[in-house]
Symmetry: C2
Subunit: 132 residues, 2 copies
């Protein structure tokens, strides 16, 4: 019961555009599927799983390049490789959160100043950006 499908169906199943599938294919993220009659690509449920894998890994901050690496993994070392990669991503995410939090604080402070000082003259936000 291999449900085979055309590129449009796969795209729909994985909630991406047809062009995205073709793009992943060009980029080597997806195997070129069989092309039986007519030259139309014929995908399997496995391909749909691959595309979902890609999209899910993307939401976790993995680039397509990272993902290409993950997809090639196989064998006993897989786990330690993915573990390290995930850990590296974790650190990136933590750094990014810290950055955003300091941005957040700076913005909130600027906004507060702006709200307090409802006086004439220069805007405190502009001021603080100029002098920062």
């Amino acid at each position: 019961m291999k449900s085979r499908m055309t590129i449009g169906k796969l795209a729909e199943a994985a909630e991406v555009g047809v062009e995205t599938i073709r793009f992943y294919q060009r980029s080597g993220l997806l195997q070129e599927p069989d092309r039986p009659l007519s030259g139309y690509r014929e995908y399997t449920a496995e391909d749909a799983r691959s595309v979902r894998f890609i999209k899910r890994a993307q939401t976790l901050g993995f680039s397509l390049n990272d993902i290409a690496g993950l997809l090639k993994l196989d064998g006993p070392q897989t786990c330690s490789i993915t573990h390290d990669l995930a850990l590296a991503k974790l650190h990136l995410v933590e750094d990014k959160i810290a950055d955003l939090e300091s941005i957040h604080d700076a913005l909130r402070q600027m906004i507060r100043q702006c709200e307090l000082k409802q006086k004439r003259g220069t805007c405190p936000i502009i001021e603080s950006l100029v002098q920062g």
Copy 2:
């Protein structure tokens, strides 16, 4: 005591590349400065302040487009405009932090599973990405 400088000095003072200054100029972020003798641009300390303004606003998440808007502001409404823009950025930053935190949790959980289950077989990270 207007310390005038060439593009190279300005770039150095603002810690950006020469090409970046030219790029900002092309993009309308920076006024075209005087070009006295020889056609060499002659910048002032004011220009250096502008470039620092741009870089600082960038670190707070403003795009060059936003910044172009900020730089054109002048007059009594300035403060309310910048206030609203900063508030909008604040919300974007908050959303982004929330996203990253859920990514963070997902990654940490995957990593933990990977560390616990030091058994043979498929890697739990790969597994969870496939099925996620």
